[in-house]
Symmetry: C2
């Protein structure tokens, strides 16, 4: 494909994208296809000779769209939001054209340097402590990871390296395997599954601690666990405090966990994957009280801050532990400027990396901080609106407290009833939700996800929930009537 | 930013991209900026209110481009190529607009299913054994990873899980820490640094074995190491065979390594990150002889097959070992269709994933297999052309054999002389190369990287090398004359 054709094709795609997103509300949010739907729609093999871009374009609607779950529809309330915005899409186009691999500074200085400065911009927007920022002139700094799960793993591996070194000095006679077998990390039972998975990947024990009745991990629970493990000869080394859990958007008590972690030489990692974006609004920052005690902090602008996936922002007070843990330095990657700017390949699991800072730069400049704050506040307001509608229907109850853009709710009654409600809602296909369960209570999660969401969408979604409840409760009533 | 503005901005960016790429030869391949160049060029903080897209666009040339190393310039000969093509850029635009997170089938069925089928298309293009392909109806299948380093780590973790289970059955009295401490993996000293790093990340020993005089790891060397380690009470579990090393594009003897691995129950992983693309041409497939013995196979279409980063293709004969090693299954990710299609989140390190199969689909259809083969053959031809120019100048020698699109060469003389040559070449700024070193011999690597490369570019690059050699050798001659 040559440039003139590319221009035609890409501009057609621009129009297609605008049309897709502006009219996304009209598409069925959850597809009706069955597993294996796609294979029969396309040939068994790649073509030998080129097809026309018009044919490919036509197949987007024929082959792809019938199987797409429309994450950016205002009818999509599953999981948490993933970001999508016009400035980020354009920035990624440029990133695709430059297509540099930013593993070292020299491999494309702009790629590294824009990332350093964007992570400072972003850190300032959240009012992070200065020692997380590169501009403070200390050791700290930020990096864009692909996902929060990678950030959790990177922090765990940094914590592991740091503790290994300390314990080796204290016990020169212990071998590595012995030390690793004694390491123990902590998180809440409510933390994301990726935290448990980081323990699996890192080959260390991770204890899931019980949260309090507000689903929040408290300092006392952590300290009790640490003391137990120390008494048992284990070595506590890592704790993850989640700010905004996936199940119910609960906040661990970072202002309690942090000091306990610091006291026992345990690396404190903050996973604020979803809720972290809210800290650009001063009124939500009380929820990250204690952040100055953290060793690493992570949130995903690619969730709630309109920067397309992947853009997971991570700050480290002392990246040295991560850099040294991962550092293998072959000659073909050495360069003369080594040491004067971060070589981000040492900060992450993969070696290669895209020019992701561009989309942060474009989004921050083309929205401005005030519009991003307004976006967060609007979503929180929609959650309140949905809560109000739910509370006004006495068949329903709110589970826990409504937090950020998430409403956890259920029909008063059994888990089975609520499971039936969820299946009915998703089966009707007009909105999409996923469930969760805490302490054996099954509930539905309504996450506000789309930047196109309006107040009328909340009313629509509520009417769908209420209508599904009518259907689910109707036979029950009859059944009860027969008794 | 609303849709009408997006259309203007994105179409302007399309023109910018075409203009950038079509005229990339005219830019200085390696920037002259010093570390820290970018920070003074932009404000200290994100703007409160939106800027115009025209201002942002203008800053691309002012702020970004002066710091870009132009990987797609025909003057760029460093590392290995990274891919860039118009069809892939357009596909990524669509991926950015759909912006689904394909962690489960239901999260966007098209995202998973197109990937399954594209990995079959690609596997057939390489003529991989049927048991790697999903369409064979067995356990095997492919997945798109972000990078080859992740694929190496994923395979290592799968191998670890598989061996742990076997050894636990054989020795029910051994605890996990004991078993892990006995595990030992293998690769060539010539394998990529990311293999060693995978060992670090996975917390297992990895032995770097000596290659033969053609820089190829042989079966005998592996078998000797395995026997030594078994005799010492260790547990061999993993070997990486590299097809196309980074230093010199050497090929490990997979047809020898594979049978040895199979014999000793050692997981055989093939890392063909760069050279794997060449296997779409039948005449190069002899270099992957023995592939039927492998447990996993990986190459990067994002290197040499015109699919933009990130697109690292990995096939597993039995993904179960990886899936089970990583599987933590919370309720909010469960769905009714589980088991009937792969939930790719279990196949990889991160949880989230982009719709990357689109760019594979677009590239395969809009180039067609024949044009992709022609691209590979053209690059191999350019390497031969450069080799010829180099051999015709008796100041130079070729290091090893010219393989694929890589020429390893040096001035006859000391390492210091060749280091001076490299610095002179990069300092002149017209072309960019990186060095490597094998067995204490320092040499220069000339990789053919750009899809815009023409025969005249090879002549240009050679003239640059020769001119730099004139400069480096000139004072030496004078010095010698004075003696």
């Amino acid at each position: 494909m040559e440039a003139p054709e590319f221009k035609e094709f890409a501009k057609e795609m621009v129009d297609y994208i605008a049309n897709y997103l502006e009219n996304i509300r009209d598409r069925r949010v959850l597809p009706t296809v069955q597993p294996g739907y796609l294979r029969p729609l396309i040939p068994d093999e790649a073509p030998k000779t080129p097809e026309s871009w018009q044919d490919v374009m036509a197949d987007v609607e024929r082959v792809v769209m019938p199987g797409v779950t429309h994450w950016h529809s205002p009818r999509f309330h599953a999981y948490f939001p993933t970001a999508n915005s016009y400035p980020a899409i354009v920035a990624d186009m440029l990133s695709g054209a430059i297509a540099c691999i930013g593993f070292t500074w020299i491999a494309s200085p702009a790629c590294t340097e824009l990332e350093v400065v964007m992570m400072d911009w972003l850190g300032k927007m959240l009012d992070l402590p200065a020692d997380f920022l590169a501009c403070s002139g200390g050791k700290g700094g930020g990096v864009i990871q692909g996902t929060a799960s990678e950030a959790t793993l990177v922090a765990l591996l940094g914590a592991k390296a740091k503790t290994m070194q300390r314990v080796k000095e204290e016990h020169p006679d212990w071998d590595e395997a012995t030390i690793v077998s004694k390491l123990v990390g902590y998180c809440s039972k409510q933390s994301h599954s990726s935290v448990e998975r980081a323990g699996l990947l890192g080959g260390v024990k991770l204890r899931l601690l019980k949260a309090d009745d507000k689903h929040s991990l408290r300092g006392e629970a952590l300290e009790i666990a640490i003391k137990e493990d120390l008494a048992a000869g284990l070595i506590p080394f890592y704790v993850v405090a989640t700010l905004g859990t996936t199940s119910s958007c609960a906040f661990d008590a970072l202002d309690e966990i942090g000091p306990v972690g610091n006291k026992y030489n345990v690396w404190v990692h903050v996973d604020a994957a979803y809720a972290g974006s809210a800290f650009i609004c001063p009124e939500y920052r009380y929820l990250m009280k204690g952040v100055e005690t953290a060793d690493s902090f992570n949130f995903n602008p690619h969730k709630w801050m309109l920067v397309n996936f992947d853009c997971s922002a991570m700050w480290l007070k002392d990246p040295g532990w991560v850099v040294d843990a991962f550092n293998v330095d072959p000659l073909y990657l050495k360069h003369d400027m080594q040491g004067s700017a971060p070589d981000y390949r040492h900060w992450q699991i993969p070696l290669g990396r895209r020019f992701r800072a561009l989309k942060l730069w474009f989004v921050l400049r083309l929205y401005g901080v005030e519009n991003l704050q307004a976006h967060i506040r609007r979503h929180c307001g929609f959650a309140k609106q949905f809560e109000g509608l739910c509370r006004a229907d006495d068949r329903f109850e709110i589970f826990g407290e409504v937090s950020m853009g998430l409403v956890c709710f259920r029909l008063k009654g059994t888990n089975e009833l609520n499971d039936a409600l969820l299946k009915r809602i998703n089966g009707r296909g007009k909105i999409h939700l996923v469930p969760s369960k805490i302490n054996d209570t099954f509930f539905l999660r309504m996450a506000v996800c789309s930047r196109f969401t309006a107040s009328s969408d909340m009313e629509f979604s509520w009417r769908e929930v209420a209508a599904a409840a009518d259907e689910v409760l109707a036979p029950q009533k009859i059944e009860n009537g027969h008794k």
